[in-house]
């Protein structure tokens, strides 16, 4: 088992008071809690801080932790026989567990047995995981392989770290920020309690062409000036293959043309739309003939796009 210095994690001396422990935890929780903080690695740091606080805020656990002695963080150690006698249980094994498991078992094993000795049903813990998928995977549905290193509890309520691999089918309907529930894939329930669920937070990889807003997609569609003026039928890429889009004559830059149902499929029914944003692009290096034609157009056209500026 690797040693963790819970006092150092909270930025405290070993003789810190309960009030100091609480104050330091609250300060660090506000800084790192993933729900309120944008700190990089905030989630990992918050877990360390919360684990330290969970043990040090409880008088009995703190005494047990202090009696483990002081070691270098990360150093392998084993509780002394005296410690095991004072705080352990005959059927508890210290192999393959984390320091946090030790202290959750410390209180857990007591809670798991009711007053009359009957074991209370305890539902399994819910787990959360993050997964990033491509837009194409969101469109088609996909399968994810998740590797979890989680504590599992034996019949006496003692933990053991296990490696679990879960292959999850991600149905169509994903978009950025949507969550998925994998029923019964959280921690195992104890004494007849139901198994926990696994929740996955989905994020989408940025796509080179499409931008996502809920289940709608946005695509920049370049047009030549003459296509914009005269109208044209152009090919547009979609996640389901190319479609032909009729651009009406007199199309302006920035105008959006909706291609219904060509966005991301929605979880319940239907699909979002694809919006093509018209962008009029001029030839960067017109050749001599093109220049002549544009010049001829300039000479005969009476169109003045800045008329409204002159009026004011």
């Amino acid at each position: 088992m690797k040693y963790k210095d819970y006092y150092a994690t909270l930025g405290l001396e070993r003789n810190a008071t309960a009030e100091e422990i609480k104050k330091s935890y609250r300060k660090l929780a506000r800084k790192y809690h993933p729900d309120v903080s944008k700190e990089p690695d905030g989630e990992e740091k918050f877990k360390e801080v919360a684990e330290a606080y969970e043990t040090l805020k409880d008088k009995d656990k703190r005494v047990a932790y202090d009696q483990l002695g002081s070691h270098q963080p990360g150093q392998d150690f084993r509780p002394t026989p005296d410690w095991e006698k004072a705080h352990g249980s005959p059927d508890f094994s210290f192999d393959g567990i984390d320091l946090s498991d030790l202290f959750s078992a410390f209180s857990g094993s007591r809670q798991r047995t009711g007053r009359n000795g009957a074991k209370a049903a305890i539902p399994g813990q819910d787990y959360e995981a993050n997964a990033q998928i491509s837009l194409e995977e969101a469109y088609r549905g996909t399968e994810l392989e998740l590797n979890l290193n989680v504590p599992e509890y034996d019949e006496s309520g003692f933990p053991r770290r296990v490696q679990r691999t879960i292959k999850a089918r991600i149905p169509k309907g994903a978009t950025d920020g949507l969550r998925l529930r994998l029923s019964g894939k959280g921690g195992k329930g104890l004494n007849g309690g139901r198994d926990g669920n696994l929740y996955i937070n989905i994020t989408l990889h940025p796509h080179p062409l499409f931008r996502v807003s809920s289940h709608d997609l946005f695509l920049d569609l370049p047009l030549t000036p003459w296509e914009a003026v005269l109208g044209a039928t152009v090919q547009v890429p979609t996640l389901g293959g190319k479609v032909r889009l009729k651009v009406p004559p007199g199309t302006r830059s920035g105008q959006q043309l909706r291609i219904a149902g060509r966005g991301l499929p929605k979880p319940h029914e239907g699909a979002g739309d694809l919006f093509a944003i018209m962008q009029i692009v001029v030839p960067p290096m017109p050749d001599e003939q093109e220049r002549t034609l544009f010049k001829a157009l300039a000479d005969i056209s009476t169109f003045n796009p800045r008329e409204y500026l002159d009026r004011s």
Binding site: R26, A29, R30, H33, D35, V36, F46, A50, P123, D126, Q163, R164, T165, I166, K167, A168, R169, I170, P171, G173, A174, D176, G177, L178, R179, L180, R181, L182, S183, G184, K185, R194, N197, Y199, I200, R211, V212, S213, S214, D216, F218, D220, P222, S253, G254, Q256, K266, P267, H268, F275, I277, Q279, V281
Partner: protein, 108 residues
Amino acid sequence: MQIEQTEGFWLHERYEFSLAELADLSGLPEVDLREWVDEGVLMPTNTQAPQWSFGLDRLVTVQLACRLRKDFELEPHGVALVVTLLERIHALESEVRDLQAKLPRVLR
């Protein structure tokens, strides 16, 4: 090592569930959930009906409220205030993302 196969289910507002199911999924007693409804942390889709229904996305809010209550040791009113503010931030962030998606890029 054993590989477990499973099918995912979206937590989307269009799917609904009851207070009892919400209590079961969140691991919270119904009385706590009723308190959070009173505090405005979560709203049923049918406030007037005898049996409340909730959009399945509310489970995400309940889980957020649970984390805030536990990790910041907050009272129900404090939970309601933080959830309201966080949901406003999420709505604004999502509006910014939508506007960015609609903004044409500079083409070369």
